[in-house]
């Protein structure tokens, strides 16, 4: 489905620069207003008019969303509100009834994406060694063996983690397995990285370590990331924006910004601003989650 290929890095839209109305006005038969609706500056992923039902149950009804470029956006909301469904729709894993989703104006097929599953044990290929798991997506892309090795070696070096990459996944710890999953997703240099509850199968200590690792990756690469989280602390700590969703049929309750400088540390959680933002998210969440 996701026809991964080595496309040129898409040109970045400069912040706040609005295209010239005269020059751009009629291009592609779209008016400026329409273009801005589709490609607001600094937006990477645009979701427009999304309709999604499971049987008679409406999850999304004419749902619109902009996901910012080069930022970490966390998705937080009541259990079963459709967080995974949203991420799976955007990444092409499940079909939807209506609407359109574009990445920088490109379709999914023209976009390289990475996806990290919650259940790392069931996402890795246990019949392959860890290193071969990381090689696999490059193999699918048809990258020659030598180039593949160069890229995987470089990735392993940049991660600098004490993992025996020649072992099989089941010989590794949970955190190590999830690290391999993240590396497998990153090795293709995705334009967007999706993570669906990446830490929730890990113990607490490991989840702290892993969220720090994800932050480091983000700081090094600046890849647009979308993280589903059920842990509000993780969600706020990691993200530039927290997307708060309502109960079904799901709408955006609030798009909360958190702009504390990086790297954020263990002390960040006791920072006044962090506490304020987290409280705000919690209030909205409680209001939305309350049975009505």
């Amino acid at each position: 489905m996701a026809n991964i290929h080595l496309a040129e890095k898409p040109a970045t839209v400069t912040a706040g620069v609005v295209p010239e109305p005269v020059a751009e006005g009629e291009r592609n038969g779209r008016t400026l207003e329409e273009r801005l609706r589709w490609f607001p500056p600094n937006t990477h992923i645009t979701v427009r008019g999304l309709d999604k039902r499971f049987g008679a149950e409406v999850i999304y009804d004419k749902f619109d969303l902009n996901i910012p470029r080069g930022k970490i956006t966390s998705i937080f909301g009541p259990n079963g509100c459709g967080k995974s469904t949203l991420v799976n729709i955007i990444s092409g894993l499940i079909p939807y009834e209506g609407g359109q989703i574009l990445f920088d104006g490109k379709t999914l097929d023209e976009t390289r994406i990475g996806y990290v599953f919650q259940n790392y044990r069931e996402a890795l290929f246990p019949w392959m060694r860890a290193v071969d798991n990381i090689h696999y997506p490059l193999k699918l892309m048809g990258v020659p063996a030598k180039e593949r090795k160069r890229r995987v070696d470089a990735l392993i070096e940049s991660f600098d983690v004490p993992i025996d990459f020649s072992s099989y996944p089941y010989q590794l710890s949970g955190g190590q397995m999830q690290t391999i999953c993240i590396m497998r997703a990153l090795v293709v240099e995705p334009e967007v990285l999706f993570l669906d509850e990446p830490f929730s199968a890990l113990d607490y200590e490991m989840s702290l370590l892993m969220r720090d690792r994800v932050q480091r990756i983000f700081q090094e690469r600046g890849t647009t990331m979308v993280i589903v989280s059920h842990d509000l602390e993780d969600a706020v700590w990691l993200s530039d924006y927290v997307l708060l969703l309502t109960r079904k049929p799901t709408r955006i309750a609030e798009f909360v910004e958190y702009d504390a400088p990086r790297p954020r540390t263990d002390d960040t959680v006791s920072d006044a601003k962090f506490i304020r933002v987290k409280k705000r998210c919690l209030d909205i969440f409680l209001k939305e989650a309350a049975l009505r």
């Binding site: 996701a2 996806y115 290929f125 246990p126």
Partner: protein, 255 residues
């Protein structure tokens, strides 16, 4: 102490065998059963030993092994690719499921007359009827293994850009291997059963089945018991060997 414990661990199954032999010997010595029907354990073991060393039991044993392996190889060669194909097109499998289940449930021995008419009394009929029975068991397991492939792994492959064929080759095939091996182990046991019965009833001049019937007709009880034990050892050995292969190939199984 540790070595002693390990040793007693290895020896544990031997106690059962010794107990069986002891009970057998006591029954024989007390003449509870007619000694013509139940020979002494030592006479039986001697017959087993002599038969294997002198070569005639060994020859029959080898013939049965050869037929079993031929039937099993044929069954696996047909059923594994077919099972992967059917499993990956679930709708096709569902429409064939009744037919597969029906013939899987049909005793292979009920097909002997048909295979005799079709293929004559030679080797072909025996091997083919065994292969037919085993292939359905293998096919069924492979197809189910493929259909029950872990969804997450397929999705992961899809995200990474795998097409249908690549998903089949790189994920479904491997995912189905544990279940495939269940099928292969059942298949090889079934092949042995059918081959031995075929050797009894489809004109045969060698093989353990043939030997058993001969010994029965000539009332050579130690020889018959020896052949039974040889068949048992063969069945056990085949099962053990497939487990070893399975452990090596499906090293991730159950982990």
């Amino acid at each position: 102490m540790k070595a002693l414990n390990a040793l007693s661990g290895y020896l544990r199954p031997v106690w059962g065998v010794l107990a069986l032999l002891a009970v057998w010997w006591v029954i024989w010595a007390a003449e509870v059963a007619n000694p013509l029907l139940l020979p002494s354990p030592q006479a039986t073991m001697l017959s087993l030993w002599n038969g294997m060393v002198s070569g005639d039991l060994w020859g029959d044993f080898l013939s049965t092994v050869k037929r079993t392996m031929a039937g099993f190889a044929l069954a696996a060669a047909v059923a594994i690719p077919l099972g992967i194909f059917l499993g990956s097109t679930e709708r096709l499998y569902r429409s064939l499921e009744f037919v597969i289940d029906f013939f899987r449930s049909t005793p292979a021995s009920a097909l002997f007359p048909l295979f005799l008419i079709l293929f004559g009394v030679g080797e072909a009929a025996k091997i083919l009827v065994a292969a037919f029975g085993a292939s359905l068991v293998i096919l069924f397991n492979v197809a189910y293994g493929v259909m029950n492939a872990r969804q997450t792994r397929l999705l992961a492959a899809q995200i990474m850009g795998a097409n249908k064929l690549q998903k089949l080759r790189d994920v479904m095939f491997w995912e189905s291997l544990p279940q495939t091996f269940v099928g292969l182990r059942n298949g090889i046991s079934l092949t042995l059963v059918i081959i031995i019965v075929a050797e009894m009833f489809i004109g045969s001049s060698d093989g353990l089945g043939h030997r058993l019937v001969q010994a029965q007709m000539l009332f050579r009880m130690p020889e018959m018991y020896a052949a039974i034990f040889a068949a048992g050892a063969l069945g056990y050995g085949l099962n053990w060997a497939s487990l070893q292969v399975e452990k090596r190939v499906v090293h991730w199984g159950g982990k």
